[in-house]
């Protein structure tokens, strides 16, 4: 689950000045024709750098995203939910594996990426810095955070880098099941007892602001990314993605009888886009820079897991087994 283009670096005018103009022109022409760029093809340094950054952030979002939902696996109510949630969170970890592999094709190792995650050098989706207090919070993530991720990932799957696009195709197919599962959970809460309805309404109140943040800062204040759009690294503006999400899911939330905690939220018939209260971008910045309720805990859990597993990884690098059976 990944929210998208919110932490691109500012691109300076001379970032591509050192590149061979002929190779650059060929590269850009290929992308304009809709061709995919493969790992052994020539690419500008900036393209490589920004892709690593983006795919890595996506991979981190998957493993960190497994934590707030994973904590509900052992508490899921009943066999049906327990088995589905286990499979869902397992998928997310599997996505991290796919994405790290895609990023590795650009020259950065998985170990280095995980180190950068733990030291805070590289980011992950901001929304996972918020806690899941109840089962309904977990259902909110499964349905709506995954829905937001799909909006973003479907767009990115049409991007220019072959390995990332192929990983995204597989990821989106799985995410669509997550979405169905999450929606199913929420329908049961909506049509259940008053207690269940109240649980989800409270979750919606808690999660709506981070959900609006999920797609990144408003286009009015975000870093200019025209070149990344031209290179099909970034496939849509943050506001477009947010609008698309609202178009698809606000009616569904209303249909279930829940109240979205934004009195200004309405479809503007003139522009065809959604009006809403501008999200608090200062809060967004504060959380992404480490000031959210769970930033420390999430990274600490990851750090401890890495530390506790170190001896296993070391042992794998030192195989002395006389005979190891093939896995299948």
């Amino acid at each position: 689950m990944y929210g998208g283009g919110n932490t691109f670096e500012v691109i300076k005018a001379d970032d591509v000045a050192q590149e061979d103009p002929i190779l650059l022109a060929v590269f850009e022409a290929r992308i304009a024709r809709g061709e995919k760029i493969e790992p052994t093809d020539w690419m500008p340094q900036l393209y490589r750098k920004q892709l690593i950054r983006m795919i890595e952030q996506h991979g981190h979002s998957e493993i960190i995203g497994a934590l707030p939902e994973g904590t509900w696996i052992t508490r899921a109510p009943g066999f049906k939910r327990k088995m589905a949630l286990m499979a869902k969170v397992q998928d997310e970890v599997g996505h991290a594996q796919l994405l790290y592999s895609a990023a590795e094709t650009l020259g950065k190792s998985r170990e280095q990426m995980i180190d950068d995650l733990i030291t805070g050098k590289s980011k992950y989706s901001n929304i996972f810095n918020y806690p899941t207090f109840t089962w309904a919070d977990c259902c909110f993530i499964s349905w709506l955070v995954d829905a937001g991720a799909i909006v973003n990932q479907l767009a990115n799957a049409k991007g220019s880098y072959g390995p990332y696009c192929r990983a995204l195709d597989r990821i989106c197919a799985e995410e669509s099941f997550h979405l169905k599962y999450g929606h199913h959970c929420v329908i049961y809460l909506a049509s259940g007892t008053q207690k269940q309805r109240d649980m989800f309404q409270a979750a919606l109140n808690r999660w709506w602001p981070p959900m609006m943040h999920f797609f990144g800062p408003s286009d009015k204040i975000s870093v200019h990314t025209e070149m990344l759009m031209k290179w099909k690294v970034k496939m849509g503006s943050n506001d477009d993605m947010r609008n698309q999400f609202l178009d698809m899911y606000v009616p569904k939330i209303w249909e279930l009888g829940f109240v979205i905690p934004d009195p200004n939220l309405k479809k503007n018939e003139e522009t065809g886009r959604w009006d809403y209260t501008e999200p608090d971008w200062e809060e967004f910045k504060r959380v992404i820079n480490g000031g959210g309720p769970c930033n420390k805990e999430r990274l600490e859990v990851r750090r401890i897991a890495e530390e506790r597993g170190k001896w296993v990884r070391e042992a794998l690098k030192t195989p002395k087994a006389k005979y190891v059976m093939p896995l299948a």
Partner: protein, 239 residues
């Protein structure tokens, strides 16, 4: 058997997000799903025989009403203990379900034939890792050795006979815990002999029993409280 699979599945699922490497995270999570699925299949047989529905049976009983072996309820601890338990437990389960394919209880035999295929992957996974880590670095060998010694008395508790052992055997439902234990010992020895580990002396190790008659350690009740936390908010509700 259903309680065994449910509780070990629950423990396996606790590795989700915390594995020593992504691939292991995914593998433990995958096995957890299988185990919980096996427990559901077995509770469903019980339901057909007149017990309450699987959710009620799994999510509303207290520790003293559970019949899982104590081995399955122990905390995961470090990966070395989890791996050793996975190896010892699944080696036994694979053999147990193999024997049950010949059970006179036809629904059980049917489930066993299906489960057997899945458990083959679990034991393949366990053996692969035992062979890799059981003869790799000094640290990996000493960690596994220590966990093996810690686990063995509890592992032998898997073969604690139920109060109806005799009737079960006479009716041809199952060939008995004693036979299973002997088969298991041979399989365990076979794998361990291919590593730098050594088994404790079978004659000295005393099994830690009690699970089959509802006597558990302090680990089980908190696990069950956690498992039923949401379910108990509104037991009449559909989730």
């Amino acid at each position: 058997m259903a309680d065994d699979q449910l509780i070990i599945g629950h423990r396996n699922s606790e590795w989700t997000g915390f594995g020593p490497l992504l691939e292991e995270d995914i593998a433990f999570s995958s096995m957890a799903q299988d185990k919980i699925g096996h427990s559901l299949a077995l509770y469903t047989i019980l339901h057909e025989l007149g017990e309450s529905d699987p959710d009620t049976v799994a999510f509303t009983r207290n520790a003293n009403q559970f019949h899982n072996s104590i081995f399955t309820e122990l905390a995961n601890q470090e990966y070395d203990f989890s791996l050793i338990r996975h190896f010892l437990y699944d080696t036994a389960e694979a053999l147990r379900f193999e024997l049950l394919t010949n059970s006179t209880c036809e629904p059980l035999a049917q489930v066993a034939r299906k489960v057997r295929g899945e458990l083959r992957y679990h034991t393949l996974h366990a053996k692969t890792w035992m062979k890799q880590l059981g003869s790799a670095t000094e640290e990996s060998v000493s960690r596994l050795q220590k966990s093996l010694e810690q686990a063995m008395p509890y592992a032998l508790g898997m073969f604690e006979e139920s109060p109806y052992e005799k009737e079960i055997m006479e009716a041809g439902i199952f060939e008995g815990e004693q036979k299973l234990k002997e088969l298991w010992m041979a399989k365990v020895e076979e794998t361990i002999s291919q590593t730098s580990l050594h088994l404790p002396d079978w004659k000295i190790v005393q099994p830690i029993n009690g699970g089959r008659i509802g006597k558990h350690t302090e680990h089980l009740q908190p696990l069950l409280d956690e498992m039923s936390e949401v379910f108990r908010i509104d037991p009449g509700a559909e989730w």
